[in-house]
Symmetry: C2
Subunit: 429 residues, 2 copies
Amino acid sequence: MNANENKNKMGLKQVLSAVQDGLFSAEDFIADCFDRIESREDEVGAWQCRLSREAYLEQYRGNREFFEQSPLKGLPVGIKDIIDTADMPTEMGSSIHRGRQPVDDASCVTLLRDAGALVLGKTVTTEFAYFRPGKTANPRDLTRTPGGSSSGSAAAVADHMVPVALGSQTAASVIRPAAYCGSVGYVGSRGEFSLRGIQPLGQSLDSLGLFSRKVEDIELLRGVLLRRQNPFDSSEALKPAKVLLCTGEAIGETSADMVAAIRQVESKLVAEGVEVIEPDLGNWLSELVAHHGCVMAYEASRNLAYESGFPEQLSAPLKELIETGLATSRDDYLASLQAAELIRQQLFERYSDVDAILAPAAPGVAPEGRDKTGAPHMSRPWQVMGLPVVTLPGLEDAQQLPLGIQLVGKSREDDRLLCMARWLESRLS
Amino acid sequence: MNANENKNKMGLKQVLSAVQDGLFSAEDFIADCFDRIESREDEVGAWQCRLSREAYLEQYRGNREFFEQSPLKGLPVGIKDIIDTADMPTEMGSSIHRGRQPVDDASCVTLLRDAGALVLGKTVTTEFAYFRPGKTANPRDLTRTPGGSSSGSAAAVADHMVPVALGSQTAASVIRPAAYCGSVGYVGSRGEFSLRGIQPLGQSLDSLGLFSRKVEDIELLRGVLLRRQNPFDSSEALKPAKVLLCTGEAIGETSADMVAAIRQVESKLVAEGVEVIEPDLGNWLSELVAHHGCVMAYEASRNLAYESGFPEQLSAPLKELIETGLATSRDDYLASLQAAELIRQQLFERYSDVDAILAPAAPGVAPEGRDKTGAPHMSRPWQVMGLPVVTLPGLEDAQQLPLGIQLVGKSREDDRLLCMARWLESRLS
């Protein structure tokens, strides 16, 4: 890649290296990001609010010494507008919170700022990270949905406006928009990160998520968020020995293109000497989809207690979610939690030698129209089990629309999963 | 009890009944609470900030119709100052957050307000719900600690300033102050309640807690917090058939008075026909204490990322906690989480027919001096397993200082635990 063009398409670590090596400056890169935003934002609509170029440079230059010595060099990051920021409103995609100005940064924001990231802006979220879309378009085809709920973060990274962005996932809110827009997406294991200052939807489901263009950038941000001594440390890419393949039909509706894409990845894996097995048939995947829905409705209806008081400002799907949650018996809710945990244990006992699960990250390419964000079923099984997941781009349909796949790891084995994802990424590109 | 005296010593449900029956008005009760606060607060120091009598009555009278028709009738509640409130600062016991004014109510606060509770004020917390005490004294002996971290909530309820208060527990922050001050305390199972707006310390450990004078009042508030259709619904008191007795020595230092108190409860149980067994000896309880400490340090050091930037405003114990957490290897942290989960599973497999665990809620009576809040080890085993716990008052040492005991239930069986606690409460009083 010529250092003087398309800098903003580079991955975060690539940019940091180039800046370190003097190929270009952080300000050069920042300028390219703003060029891109200014030329595309009217169409893409990734940002709920953001710094102007001038305001950004004022912050950068006002603290230049700190940024130059920092790991992340003052490079821009986007923050999903469900994550609190002390210097910008956090409106959660709802008119109920128009202009809501939190008093604190979320801890993930603090950690990124401490490492020298500069918050360029807040990215569009669906209403309370649930279904009602914001203004964002899919940067690969403006007539299509970017997916949700982390719509703006996925679009901003995929459209080369910023190298990385934060999101969150309760159902499919990182994995699906990453798949639809063609970025890398990562959802941490349940309990992995501090969620302080991230507005919750379901305490048994919520996870922090990250978007980037390269897996290695996820690993860097993960190191920052875990306060690792050297966030640049990383292990060798890891070829999995054995992969469990879920083609998608056992989870729910899957397009023929997606099935073909998954089979294509299977062929690549087999050609590389990876053993690929398919799970015994059974209803466990569709059962997990149902359990996820039950837990989400029950918990969301308590977490959104305040918002329940403003029914006229809630979308019909959100009102329905809250009503469903309030009508769900406690026994059914607890049964779903227990069943999901049991299936998780049985899955990893039965397939103890499997290194990762491969599955579609979405039912297919991004659907046409922007009134919905696509179906979330592909993520529900893994999310209700609290597993770490990476979306990998690289595959496309005949119209060059992204077909994202996901690699799922064991609970809390996020580092190992990312090493495998980095290996697979190199085989898909 | 004569309706015209000591109203403020009554339990919440008793007061609500009396108001309903016209024995006295909500305003009469409120007046008694303020009388008590005004006569005692200078010595007890339960409140970080609070409404004046006039401001309270203005709010009450300004919305009288709503309060009169509400389940909780406009009666006062105290909120631990680690829980966000939109109309009062939330300072977390730290000068770092002096005057910090959150933009939202925590969801638990919203739910209480919606049910007609009126937030009288914020109660003193130790620094970030960890060790450094605030100004609160033990209302039973002003030279002693009230325990922490929910110091003000425990003291305010025990001293009859308010009938109920909210707290939170990561180690022993509800169970211990309830024991030291002589109130009922309840810690919900992990995941049980929305923690939105409660500043976190350890995401694998944090639980919402409640203080009251009667177990039935905990059950009422629990119904409100879970958005139950009728929060006044309750089941019959339940005599446990079989109780596992942990006398305390297997957990850590225990006073002779406390051992005697626990044996006294054992005798009462046996006399009532309850089978009481003691666990096989082994190190599992002390191992759980260590695992709890490891998880807490690791997670707190990430949750307190922002505050880490102000070392000169942190107490030595908190700095040490953060340093320990940052020096804890990820492998050790994960091993502690896994070990605790394994012990939990084995415990309830081995003792599947046990209805509840009985143990000291603290090592003994509240220690003298107010520079420390007492040792937390008695709560660590149950907290790291995510179990629901109730502190019951009623026992005392020779100086009439409270010796609190705790009843521990199985994960998510909070309702059943509370029915048993209500039964045992009637036997202790």
